[in-house]
C-alpha cells in the first residue's frame, strides 16, 4: 500500500519542520502511520495501512464493520501493539511507554463501547477525569457543550446509549487535547446527538485540533472529513478528500427525461452519452448535471415535446464507495 501524502487543508499552520520530531509541537503531521499490520493469529485485521493526518484536519476512516478501522485506531492510541509497521502521534511512538505517557495528556479518545461505571453520574465522571488530567473540573460547562447540561446528576445506567456517547465525547474533550480519536462516535445516536457531535467536531477542527474518526456512515464521513480513507479487509482502497473521491470514482452524473417526441439529436450530443429505453432518454455526463438538465429542458421545450418525467442524479460518495469496494456499506440501521 502506498503512503498517502496529505495536503495541508488549512492555511493557519506553522512552516513545515522535519516530520517526526519526538513530541515537538510544530510537527506538521499530527499522525503518521506507515505500513501498519496487526494480526490476530492468522487473521490480519490490518494489513499494511499507511496514511498521515495533517494538523488541524479531520481524517475519516470509512469502511464496513470489521474492515479494520477500530484496530487501526487502537494501534494509534496504545491500546494495540502493531505486529509490524510504525505509528507516530505528535511525533511520539505509542508502543514506547515513555512516549505513550507523554502522548496521553495530549490526546482525547471516544471509544466505541461505553466504558463508564454504571452507578457513576455525569458530574462525578467529569470531575474524576479532570483529576486524572490535573485540570480544574469543568463538569457543568462540558455537560452543557454536549447537551447534557440538565443531566449532571443522571447515573450512567439511566442514560441512553446516545447520551453515554455524548458524555464520552465530553470526557475526550475536557482536557483540551491536540489530537482527538473518535471511534464510531455517533453509532446509536439520535439525530439530536449527531448534530451536537458534528457541530462540536467541526468547531474543534476550526480551533486547530487534529481529528481521526472512524465511521460506517457515509453521510458522516462526507460531512466531516477533510480527507477520507476507505478501508476494506484491512487495507486502504482509496484515499482523498470526499469531493475528489466522488469525482474520481463516483461515475457519471445522469439526467433522464420522458417527453413525447423528444430526441437528443445533434444539439445535445456534446453533453455526454445518451441511451434510451422506450420513451425514457438518459444522459450520462461528466459535467455539471444541473446545467445539462437546463439545456435538456430548453431543447425539449423548443421541440414542443411535453415533459412527463424528469430526473437528475449526481454521483454520491456512496457511489464512489461501491465503485472502490465492490460492495455497499450495507448496514441497515
Amino acid at each position: 500500500m502506498r503512503a498517502c501524502k496529505v495536503q495541508r487543508a488549512r492555511a493557519v499552520q506553522p512552516p513545515k519542520p522535519e516530520c517526526g520530531i519526538r513530541g515537538h509541537t510544530t510537527v506538521e503531521q499530527a499522525i503518521v502511520v506507515e505500513q501498519l499490520v496487526k494480526r490476530y493469529g492468522d487473521f490480519a485485521a490490518v494489513d499494511g495501512i499507511s496514511f498521515s493526518v495533517a494538523r488541524g484536519t479531520i481524517f475519516g476512516l470509512l469502511g464496513r464493520n470489521g474492515a479494520g478501522k477500530t484496530t487501526t485506531l487502537e494501534c494509534c492510541i496504545g491500546l494495540g501493539k502493531p505486529t509490524s509497521g510504525s505509528v507516530r502521534v505528535l511525533g511520539l511512538d505509542p508502543t514506547r511507554p515513555r512516549d505513550l505517557a507523554r502522548m496521553r495528556p495530549r490526546i482525547g479518545v471516544q471509544l466505541q463501547a461505553t466504558s463508564l461505571p454504571e452507578k457513576a453520574n455525569v458530574r462525578e465522571v467529569l470531575e474524576l477525569y479532570a483529576a486524572y488530567y490535573g485540570i480544574a473540573s469543568r463538569a457543568a460547562e462540558m455537560a452543557e457543550r454536549v447537551g447534557l447540561g440538565d443531566k449532571l446528576d443522571r447515573q450512567i445506567a439511566q442514560m441512553s446509549g446516545g447520551e453515554q456517547q455524548r458524555l464520552a465525547l465530553a470526557l475526550a474533550l475536557q482536557h483540551d487535547p491536540d489530537v482527538l480519536f473518535l471511534d464510531e462516535p455517533t453509532a446509536g445516536m439520535d439525530a439530536f446527538g449527531r448534530r451536537i457531535l458534528w457541530t462540536e467536531v467541526e468547531r474543534l477542527r476550526d480551533a486547530g485540533k487534529s481529528i481521526v474518526l472512524t465511521t460506517h456512515y457515509i453521510e458522516e464521513a462526507e460531512r466531516l472529513s477533510d480527507r477520507i480513507c476507505v478501508i476494506q479487509r484491512g487495507t486502504i482502497v482509496a484515499e482523498a478528500p470526499p469531493a475528489e473521491l466522488v469525482a474520481r470514482y463516483g461515475g457519471d452524473a445522469t439526467v433522464s427525461i420522458v417527453a413525447g417526441g423528444f430526441v437528443p439529436g445533434e444539439a445535445l450530443a456534446a453533453l455526454g452519452t445518451w441511451t434510451n429505453a422506450g420513451a425514457k432518454w438518459t444522459l450520462a455526463t461528466r459535467g455539471e448535471p444541473g446545467l445539462a438538465l437546463a439545456t435538456v429542458v430548453t431543447r425539449a421545450n423548443a421541440m414542443g415535446a411535453k415533459i412527463t418525467s424528469l430526473d437528475m442524479h449526481r454521483p454520491t460518495l456512496e457511489d464512489a464507495f461501491i465503485a472502490v469496494t465492490g460492495e455497499t456499506i450495507g448496514e441497515a440501521e
Binding site: 492510541i77 496504545g78 491500546l79 494495540g80 505517557a101 496521553r104 495528556p105 490526546i107 479518545v109 471509544l111 463501547a113 461505553t114 466504558s115 463508564l116 461505571p117 452507578k119 457513576a120 462525578e124 470531575e127 474524576l128 477525569y129 483529576a131 486524572y132 488530567y133 490535573g134 447515573q155
Partner: protein
Amino acid sequence: MMLLRMFLMQTKMNFVWYFRRDGEMMFWTLAMPVFFLVLFSFAFSTGPNSGSAKFLVPGIIGAQVLSSGFWGVGVMLATFREKHLLRRVYLTPMPPWVFFGSLVLYRMVLLAAQAVILVAAGALLFHVRITGNPLEILAILLLGTATFISLGTIIGALARTTESANNIASILTVPLAFLSDAYVPIDRFPHAVSSALRLLPSTQFIDTFRDVSTYGAPLAHYGAWIGLLVLWAIAGTLISARTFRWV
C-alpha cells in the same frame, strides 16, 4: 498534589459507586459477617459462652480478608476489564498505582468497618474480648490484606471474563475458608491433613491473626508464618504485575 487529588477522588468514587449506591454490596459487606458469626457460633458450639465466638470473630474477619482479595479486588478487576473500564482509564495520564492503590484503600476501609462491626457484635453477643496488642493486630491484619489482595489480583490478571474470575474466586474462597481455620478448627482433621493445611497462606494468616487478637499472643512468636506471608505477598505482586492486562 495532583496525584494526591487524583488518588483521593478515585478512592472516594470507588466508595460511592461500588458501595454506597449498591445495596446488595452493602448488605453482603456489613450484615453477612455478623450473620455468619451468629449462625456458626450456634452450629459449631454448645452455647454462646463457649470458646467458639472467640474463635469465630477473628476467623470470620480472616475469611473476609480472603474474599476481599479474591472478590473485592480480583473479580472486580476482571469485571472492570470486561466492561471496558480498564481500557478507558488506561488512555488517561492516571498512573496505574493510583488505580490499584485506591482500590486497595477502598477495600481496606471496608475491611476495617467489617472488623469493627464483627468485634462489636462479638463483644455484645458473646462477650468476646480482644486482648492482644492493637498495633500487632493491625500489623498482621495489614499483612494478610496485602497478601490476599496481591494473590487476588492474579485472578483479575489471568481471568478472561468476569464469569471465569467468579468461578476461580468461588473455588478458592469457599474451601479455603473451611480448610484454613476460619470457621472450623482444623485440629479436628487428622494430623497429616491439618499439617498440610498449614501450608496454605490462608491458614498461616488466620491462625496468626486469631492467636494475636483474641488469644493475646505476641506477634513475635509467629516469625515463620509472617515470613511466609511476606513471600506469598511478594510472589502475588510479581505475578500480578507481570500478567496484568488493561485491554
